[in-house]
């Protein structure tokens, strides 16, 4: 009886792990899309609104929702008093602190990290160019993420269950 209970526990845990992994694959392209939209909004704030960066990040973060909001809000708060970090440092720290809350991978983080070097430090036209580059790169990542979702989402869902069953069989 106890054995049976243990086996059920293992199978359900493995299935849950598989589902979680599958969910990450499903979430990644959605979140990349959100990030792209957020950067487009930031482009508008900079190009047409002349909004200062901390305020623009807060506003765009608010509109974009999770998981973009915590990253942008954290960067904005580190730029403001009393910390007064530079735009680059603030954004990089925010990425380090908040990136684990997203389903996105290192490639997207690198793109954002590259963007941090130029954000806020040049004229509007230049900012527009840098943001456009970041958006293009993210769009490429989005395509990759969608392909991965297609191939791995279902796989991980079934793999979790199968792996659980496999362990149970061995232990039995």
């Amino acid at each position: 009886m106890l054995k049976l209970l243990g086996a059920a526990l293992i199978i359900s845990a493995a299935t849950a792990a598989g589902w979680f992994q599958a969910k990450q694959y499903a979430n990644r392209p959605v979140q990349i899309r959100k990030l792209i939209l957020a950067l487009r909004r930031l482009q508008t704030e900079i190009q047409y609104g002349y909004t200062p960066l901390p305020e623009a990040l807060l506003r765009v973060g608010e509109q974009s929702g999770d998981p973009i909001r915590p990253i942008f809000a954290s960067a904005a708060s580190q730029m403001n008093a009393p910390l007064n970090y530079t735009a680059k440092d603030s954004l990089q720290r925010a990425l380090d602190q908040e990136w684990k809350g997203t389903a996105m991978k290192a490639a997207e983080k690198d793109i954002m990290s590259q963007l941090s070097h130029t954000l806020g430090t040049s004229d509007r036209q230049d900012q527009f160019g840098h943001l456009a580059t970041a958006v293009r790169q993210l769009e490429n990542e989005e395509i990759v993420a969608r392909e991965e979702q297609g191939s791995y989402e279902k796989l991980f869902k079934s793999l979790g269950l199968l792996f659980g069953a496999f362990i149970v069989i061995i232990l039995y």
Partner: protein
Amino acid sequence: MDQSWLSVFPDTLRQLLAKLPEALFTELEEIRVREGRPFEVNAGGLHQFLTPDGEMTSVPSRAYHPDKQDTGRLLDLLTNHSLYTMEEELRKGFITLPGGHRVGLSGRTVLAGGRVEHLRDISGFNIRLARELKGIGDPLLPYLLDFRHRTVLHTLILSPPQQGKTTLVRDLVRLISGGSWRHPEARWPGKKVAVIDERSEIAGSKFGVPSFDLGPRTDVMDGCPKSEGMMMMIRSMSPEVLVVDEIGRPEDAEALTEALHAGVRVIATAHGTDVEDLESRPVLSKLIGASFFQRYIVLHRKENQLLFSIRDEQRRRILGVEEKEGRQRA
């Protein structure tokens, strides 16, 4: 003194400034940051360098040399991390901070059609701390009064840069606007004053609101070209006294003449060391020739004392620098 300006400095520079003795710190006028070159401060008219230990020295090689990171951080903080919101300021070469402090910038210009389009590779900063010295105009104002018309005379204030011209104008605006004429027989209310503050120096406006006390009846046109601003003010704000900084372009003379015909009194400033200097300058010599100005004030600064001499429309000396009344601590 308000110390909010300290927050625009990166930690390294701020710590050096914080080590300055209290007496010097309160007398700070300029802080000059030049990338890879000695860190310089000007306190009470004395230019000296700051060592990494925060001591004053006159030996450049002993001074702290701000690096690229320092200037990068300084620019980032000065612009609120948003250089793109400052394009107009960069074109003009300076940024105004809250409190009316001004930061002059130098770097490499980007030209478009022969005009400065943008400033990049910014490596030189001159942080000029604005000072409000109430009462500095007190001994002067009685000489500028027009008792017949119960107002002030057309006045031109002359001085080389860094002698307290703007500080004096600011105080005169406050006195005239508030009707404190500093003369027992002058008993008429304050005048409506219009300030054309092309370089945001007189009022130190931030978001259109002056940072300094300019009196109760003062309107400020911030960042506006002088000639255009004078016309706009005359047409729209019915000023009785017009105040402009640093006149010298042909269109300025035209606008001043217009103001004269509109019955508006003018107080203007110009760079120069003496009234005779002006004769060699095309626009100003024309104005002097036409006896436009009724009073000329020439400023000198000597060991923290602001000295001035006053001349009338025939350029006769009314009050000289040597006279005691002409002294006022700056």
